[in-house]
Amino acid sequence: MRKFKQQFLAGPYLIWIIGFILLPLIMILYYAFTNGDGSFTLSYITAIADETNRKAMGLSLRLGIICTIVCLVLSYPLAMILNNMKIKNQGLVVFIFMLPMWMNFMLRILAWKLLLSKNGVINSILTGFGLSRINIINTPTAVVLGMVYDFLPFMLLPIYNSMTRIRKDWIEAARDLGAGNVTIFLKIILPLTVSGIISGIVMVFVPSLTSFAISQVLGGGHVLLIGNVIEQDFMQGMQWNAGSGLSFVLMIFVIASMTIVNIFDKEGEGTSIC
């Protein structure tokens, strides 16, 4: 009786999982491995090797990696500064850094479009001072800029979290045993923040790899990422099989990077935010 009741309570979630997670996954798998008349084929998977797709995938990987590196380089020192701040309300300062995250990301990207466009805010100011315009809108640079702006908090938070867990007396103990600042960083701080770094890398890399909206708005159709190709397959070409095939390949990349997390991140730092 009790068992039945429990199952009954789990019902809505079961329906959710089946309807919105399992079923779409099965459909993608079905479309990815069949052609129009329902017979098995691998051609939509191997389509990743076609020139357009290969280039889009390559660009996605490249921009994803660049975005991740930039986020890491910006976040790590920032997390250190935040952690070392000698003020009472550290949480508030961190909250301010996190604040943009709660805003709809499309809005923030559209704001960047306004800032960067040919006659946008930045260029108006530059020409006002008699300086030359910057033309980065509709280039990969603008896309990376948008990605970094959007995903920075996802890098900052896990690194900051792992840093706050380093006890002050560990640092003092290391210093007591003769360690200078460099040794303390390399032997104590860095190893103890590795899990935060790994989490941050995945949390930035995965969404930047799969993003298509940022490249659409800030790339203006000139920057074709794998996400854009998939979007076009589904929305414009109605080629569900082709789109599913590429989605499947993309999913493999995502799963691969998640696996790396599970190997390094045993404390579950990343799960706290996703």
Partner: protein, 357 residues
């Protein structure tokens, strides 16, 4: 005894507007076990942290072997610390923890291996090399923390309430371990604690501190038997501290009765504090006592009974091995030698009297 190894000269330190140490002067001799003892907030931990190099004084100098080390960073001082919270590095094995300091001073692999073995043996944890920090109990972690400090062969080992987080039994065992270690290593120990029993058991010299001032420096026997003022007497064990008047040399009046004592030089008719240890109070037949009273409570404490005796308007704390039921009329007697006379503190904040150890 042996020469001064460490000198604190006129050290003052305050946090914000809070004065923690005021003009502290103290020397530590080579190879002594010196304990800084006092209640929390008395400045003992600050003194240790100043010596370790984790804080710098607002005023004054710290000399080490005659050299001024006031400006040296913690990693440049030839001393090591055992922290209250053990502070083992969680991402390293036990062996890596112990090797940390040795690797920094670029010792050879073979030397480091030898040292790890030696240190683990010294703290009775042989074979723990590859264990993780998490898998050790508090007492074991504290031993590793000690091992990690001593492999660097410091001239001075600083211990900041290292037994504070351990349970009673373990704490007592570790006290003997520490005494043994001190003997084996032949180095100076500077120990911080608020536990008077710990201090009495282990120390060569005890420095009693309160509110940033040194109250008394002396051997454990010295501090226990001849407390300099009421604070020390009260802090070192439970005592009867009674207002009295020094009638003349070797005669004091307390609670309306006159008692022979052995102290001289306090002047005539001067107000004093009188300390009488509970184990020094003799319960005799009412007719033989200096004061007469009645037992008001009786608690069995194992080795002895702890009694409250109401006599002369004061509730005396008495330790005796005799069973004296509540309500018994008794007389109180104290032999002259066991009556300790102390100056009344001059001001309310009990400034320390300048004293030489």
């Amino acid at each position: 005894m042996s020469k001064h190894l460490i000198d604190f000269i006129g050290i003052s330190k305050s946090y914000d507007s809070n004065l923690v140490l005021d003009d502290l002067n103290l020397y530590i001799r080579e190879n002594e076990f010196l304990t800084l003892l006092g209640p929390s907030g008395c400045g003992k931990t600050t003194t240790l942290r100043l010596l370790g190099g984790f804080e710098s004084p607002d005023k004054g100098q710290i000399l080490f072997d005659g050299q001024d080390i006031t400006a040296l960073a913690a990693n440049e001082r030839k001393l090591n610390t055992v922290f209250q919270k053990y502070s083992l590095f969680p991402h390293m094995s036990i062996a890596e923890n112990i090797a940390f300091g040795l690797k920094i001073s670029k010792k050879s692999k073979a030397y480091i291996q030898d040292k790890i073995k030696y240190a683990l043996k010294l703290v009775n944890l042989e074979g723990f090399e590859n264990r993780s920090v998490d898998s050790l109990s508090g007492g074991q972690q504290q031993r590793i923390a000690i091992a990690r400090a001593i492999v660097n062969e410091p001239k001075v080992l600083l211990l900041d309430e290292p037994l504070g987080a351990l349970d009673l039994k373990l704490r007592q065992n570790m006290q003997y371990e520490l005494i043994r270690l001190k003997e084996e290593l032949g180095i100076t120990f500077v120990y911080v604690t608020h536990d008077q029993e710990e201090a009495l058991t282990m120390s060569d010299t005890i420095v009693v501190m309160n509110q940033g001032y040194i109250q008394q420096i002396g051997t454990p026997e010295n501090i226990y038997n001849e407390p300099e003022n009421a604070f020390v007497a009260d802090f070192i064990g439970h005592s009867n501290i009674i207002d009295g008047t020094m009638i003349k040399d070797e005669l004091v009046e307390i609670l309306g009765a006159r008692w022979a004592c052995v102290d001289k030089g306090f002047g005539n008719n001067k107000p004093v504090d009188v300390v009488i240890r509970p184990e020094d109070v003799e319960l005799v037949d009412p007719s033989e006592g200096t004061l007469q009273g009645e037992v008001t409570s009786l608690i069995f404490k194992g080795v002895h009974y702890e009694l409250d005796v109401m006599a002369g308007g004061y509730e005396w704390l008495v330790h005796t091995t005799r069973f004296v039921p509540v309500g018994t009329k008794v007389g109180i007697k104290v032999i002259p030698f066991n009556i300790q006379i102390m100056h009344k503190p001059e001001s309310s904040d009990e400034k320390a009297v300048e004293i030489d150890a």
